[in-house]
C-alpha cells in the first residue's frame, strides 16, 4: 500500500473510532438514555414542604445542584428496592453537587415514615408530600415516581415505577459532568424567583412512560 493510501486508511480508522467512542481526551462521557436534551427540559415545579425536623424545604433551595426527587411511600414495595440505591448515590455524590430529596406520600405522616427511614438507613432529606405537590408533578399516581432535576432546576428525566439502578447512576453522572447534557456551573447560577411562587408546568409532563426493565 502506498504512503498516501496508508495515511487515508489511518485517518478513516481514527474518524470511525471517534464516531463510535467519541474523541474527547478526557474520561468517556456517560450518556443516560433517559436524560432529555437540555433544550427539551421543563422547569421543575416549585414546592414548599417540611422535613422531619419541621424545617421548611423549598425546591429552589437546591438550585445549582443535581437533584433526585423521589416520590415514595412506606407501603410501596418497589420504592423499598430503590431507596437503598438512593442512599448509596447520596453518599457517593453529595460532595459533587448532588442531593436526593425524598417526598413521602404516606397519609399517616411522620408517625409511619420516621421508623421506616430509620429501618432503611436513609441518609438524605425527606419531606412529607401532599396532593397539591403531587398534582404539580403530573399527579404521581404510581409510586415510585422519580425526577432527575438538573442544576438549572429543570426536569432532565422521569422514571415511573421501579427503574434500573444504572439508569439513575448514568443520569446523575451525565448531569454532573460539565458537558454534554449537564449544565455548566456558571449556567446553573439562575437567580431564584423572588416570590418563590409555584409555577405549574405549561402543559402535562410528556415522559410518563413506565420504564419496564
Amino acid at each position: 500500500m502506498s504512503l498516501p493510501r496508508l495515511s487515508a486508511a489511518f485517518a478513516t480508522a481514527i474518524l470511525l473510532s471517534c464516531f463510535v467512542q467519541g474523541c474527547s481526551s478526557g474520561p468517556r462521557t456517560v450518556r443516560a438514555a433517559s436524560v432529555k436534551p437540555a433544550q427539551d427540559r421543563k422547569e421543575a415545579p416549585e414546592f414548599t414542604l417540611k422535613d422531619a425536623d419541621g424545617k421548611v424545604v423549598h425546591l429552589a433551595d437546591y438550585r445549582g445542584k443535581v437533584v433526585l426527587l423521589d416520590f415514595f411511600a412506606t407501603w410501596c414495595g418497589p420504592c423499598k428496592i430503590e431507596i437503598p440505591w438512593f442512599t448509596e448515590l447520596e453518599r457517593k455524590n453529595k460532595d459533587r453537587g448532588f442531593s436526593v430529596l425524598g417526598v413521602s406520600m404516606d397519609d399517616e405522616g411522620w408517625e409511619v415514615v420516621k421508623p421506616f427511614l430509620v429501618e432503611l438507613g436513609v441518609n438524605y432529606r425527606v419531606v412529607i408530600g401532599n396532593d397539591q405537590t403531587a398534582q404539580l408533578y403530573g399527579g404521581v399516581d404510581a409510586l415510585p415516581t422519580t425526577f432527575l432535576i438538573d442544576q438549572a432546576g429543570k426536569i432532565a428525566a422521569v422514571h415511573v415505577g421501579l427503574a434500573a439502578k444504572k439508569d439513575f447512576e448514568d443520569g446523575i453522572q451525565q448531569l454532573l459532568s460539565p458537558t454534554p447534557g449537564g449544565i455548566k456551573p456558571d449556567q446553573a447560577a439562575v437567580p431564584v424567583a423572588p416570590d418563590r411562587e409555584r409555577r405549574p408546568l405549561p402543559d402535562p409532563l410528556p415522559a410518563f412512560a413506565v420504564r419496564a426493565k
Binding site: W75, G77, P78, D141, A142
Partner: protein
C-alpha cells in the same frame, strides 16, 4: 380493582344470611390480602358503615395466594384476578319487613410488578329483603 354488584339477600327475622361480594383485579396487578406479609403494606379491608336491619356482617376473606414479585425478596400475600368476600349477617329480631341496604367501605391498595398505587376506598352496597 372493581367491585361487582352483590346479589340481594333475603331472609326472615333472626335468619342468618350471607352476602357475596364479587371483586376483580385487572391482569398484571394485585392487591394486598387482608393479612399482608409486611407490616408496612396496606391490607384489603371491608368495614360496614350502616347495616340497616341486618346485624353482624363479619367478613370471610378468601385464602390469599403467595406470589413472588421482582420488588420483594419474599413472596407476598395477595389477591389477583376474580375473588369474593363473604359477609355473614343475621336479620334483626325486630326487623320490619321490606327492603333495605347495608353499606360499607372497602379499602385496598394495588400494585403491578413495577409500581404501587395510592390506597383507594370504594363503597359496597348489599341490598336485602326482610321477609
Amino acid at each position: 380493582m372493581t367491585a361487582g354488584e352483590p346479589a340481594k339477600v333475603a331472609g326472615a327475622r333472626n335468619a342468618a344470611v350471607q352476602a357475596r361480594i364479587p371483586l376483580s383485579v385487572k391482569p398484571g396487578y394485585h392487591v394486598n390480602s387482608n393479612t399482608p406479609s409486611d407490616e408496612y403494606l396496606i391490607p384489603l379491608k371491608l368495614t360496614w358503615t350502616a347495616t340497616g336491619a341486618l346485624e353482624g356482617g363479619a367478613i370471610a376473606y378468601p385464602k390469599p395466594t403467595m406470589e413472588k414479585y421482582e420488588f420483594a425478596e419474599k413472596p407476598l400475600s395477595v389477591y389477583t384476578g376474580n375473588f369474593e368476600l363473604v359477609a355473614n349477617f343475621k336479620v334483626a329480631a325486630n326487623a320490619p319487613a321490606g327492603p333495605g341496604a347495608a353499606v360499607g367501605k372497602l379499602r385496598y391498595q394495588a400494585c403491578s410488578n413495577k409500581a404501587c398505587y395510592q390506597p383507594k376506598t370504594i363503597e359496597i352496597t348489599v341490598g336485602y329483603q326482610v321477609q
